[in-house]
Symmetry: C2
Subunit: 350 residues, 2 copies
DNA sequence: CTGTTAGCGCTTTCAG
DNA sequence: CTGAAAGCGCTAACAG
């Protein structure tokens, strides 16, 4: 394998054999017969370099297959070109979508994201904050505004810019990007009440892990209360949201409570499962029973009866967070909040 | 904000004010009245340390809120505790699932994954290889076995262990973990032929981006040929797979070709869309038309008629890749291949 | 346009 | 059990 590499100047070859390490700037400099800093400048396109030396350096780089060492570069320049990102999950598709927005904003900036997954656990999140901060990121994106006191202290104390995303219902440390979940729940209630629904049921998943789902629920209940209504019944799945559980939990709810005219789900995964249950049970969505989700996932819109739901803008949220963070390296005097909003997708199930 | 931090010894406070940088080992050492190396040892639990000094150091760390600098640590020890990972996409759920397997294998090892997304583009992948290698990862995981010559050379030359995952149909650089897509396609064909299907159609997505889908297709055609059969018709969507396109492309195929008794889809996303089309068009899966997917996604199994498909083991693939890589730091003499296999899920659509 | 001199913050020797 | 000295590979800050 090693022998497949291009042949190197013997001195470099020897050093490599001894070190097992990679080629360094010094190696390139020696071959190009310039100083290390000149190589460094060429590679970073910084400062004026004579075209002839530039070529010589680039040739040398090619020749020895030099790959810069960012650990060293970051240390020397105290600028890691890293952004730390913490999300609760990868299996819930909304988070990969946020990451995709982050990726798109980071493209061509030279920044790399280092991603941590907290698994909806605040203590895990705290550990991740510490370990990501150890990479000296130049900014940090973290889902949610709820953190352990220690995690919060580390984030505040780090001095780097922090975007707390997906939620703007509380005051952020520095910047919040997302939308109000309480308001989304409230708007869901208003929309359905306006449609004439009166007998509300709710199908949800584990709240202790997903407080944003709870905020939406609370907003919904608030809208109902204002209209003199209340949730007639609700059923919660003890675990993360999924199509399968949406299906079974709706079945359970309906088996004990037949008087509902609409069911609001904690999100589209659950609601899609609900639609599947209806299909199996011969219940016609909207006609026999209204169903309403949250997120506006593609899958829900591709259903034979497209899901009535609220679309949140995950990609935009990720993208905006990064754009804001990179725009200004110092924290603002006042915490800032950016609402990326949501839209009602009327669909065909409510 | 800054003033909310715990009060620091005045000397440290002054240095911080000057540097805007974080607290360093030296600061902790001064406060604990030990040398830097002792602090370092305590933090890395390395070498014997008197319990009393250990406590003194830990107190100091707490007091000043010290966060180690991994750039410096990695540089000094030439060990980054980083694993580079490159996947083609985050929006196709199978990749987040692989990442989750990687994450689970990395948990409690002290390693961090740095993730790059190639967007199914080999040139982008090449850039990612270079930029991830610059972080001096101790191992690298990359989806697929197809790379640009330059990317391949960098991977080989890096000396670090490389796992090429999701595909074992070609010879890997170092280690391959996944399953044979050609074989999966072949087995799909055998399974359906044994079921009595004879008139095959195919609905797929963009092959240029997803060569594993093409391999499955080729395997399918091979099985058909062995049985003296051939694909009667096929329709390809010019873009990534999605439920929506599976739906419309099946509709298009059926509108021009009514003699099919089974349609094989490039994956479960497409197949789920196909099932949705059938629901809308009054076609009864399995009875009127067989449908077969690939991946074994949850959504397919939660359908009113669970999808007949092949389940690939994404989580296991990610997890196994990391376990193998961390088990042995040197590349094996011979490239190694690990088959994480797949299972037929009979379902109810074929 | 190019080079010299000092580190960045930590860990690896090697001593004691 | 603890420390002093010497870098890791690169870049900032000055020269020239």
């Amino acid at each position: 394998m090693k022998s497949d590499q291009p042949k190197l100047t013997s001195s470099v070859g020897k050093r490599l054999a001894q070190r097992r390490q990679g080629v360094t700037l010094a190696d390139v400099a020696r071959i190009a017969k310039v100083s290390e800093i000149t190589v460094s400048r060429v590679l970073r396109r910084q400062g004026a370099i004579a075209e002839s030396t530039r070529e010589r350096v680039l040739d040398a780089v090619q020749h020895v297959g030099y790959v810069p060492n960012r650990l060293a570069g970051g240390l020397a320049s105290s600028g890691s070109k890293l952004v730390g990102v913490i999300v609760p999950s990868l299996t819930n598709i909304v988070f990969p979508e946020v990451l995709d927005g982050i990726r798109s904003a980071l493209a061509d900036t030279g920044f790399q994201a280092v991603i941590g997954v907290s698994d909806y656990d605040l203590n895990t999140e705290e550990e991740l904050v510490a370990s990501l901060l150890a990479w000296r990121p130049e900014a940090m994106v973290i889902a949610g505004v709820e953190h352990t006191p220690v995690a919060r202290a580390m984030l505040e104390g780090s001095g780097v810019r922090i975007a707390e995303i997906m939620e703007i219902d509380s005051q952020p440390i520095d910047l919040a990007v997302g939308h109000s979940h309480r308001q989304a729940g409230y708007d869901t209630g208003r929309y359905l009440i306006d449609k004439g629904y009166r007998r509300f049921g709710y199908v949800g998943h584990d709240w202790t892990a997903d407080r944003r789902a709870q905020l939406r629920h609370d907003g919904l209940v608030m809208a109902l209360a204002e209209a003199g209504l209340e949730l007639i019944d609700r059923s919660l799945h003890d675990g993360p949201s999924s199509t399968a559980s949406g299906r079974s939990v709706l079945a359970a709810l309906l088996s004990r409570q037949s008087a509902l005219d609409v069911v609001v789900f904690s999100n589209d995964d659950m609601a899609t499962g609900g639609v599947f249950h209806c299909m199996s049970a011969g219940i016609v969505p909207k006609v026999d029973l209204g169903l309403f989700g949250f997120n506006g996932l593609d899958i829900g819109q591709a259903l034979p009866t497209p899901l009535s739901t609220l679309r949140s803008n995950r990609f935009l949220t990720g993208r905006t967070a990064i754009e804001m963070l990179l725009r200004q390296r110092d924290r603002p005097m006042q915490p800032e909040i950016i609402d990326t909003g949501y839209q009602i997708l009327p669909g065909a199930t409510a």
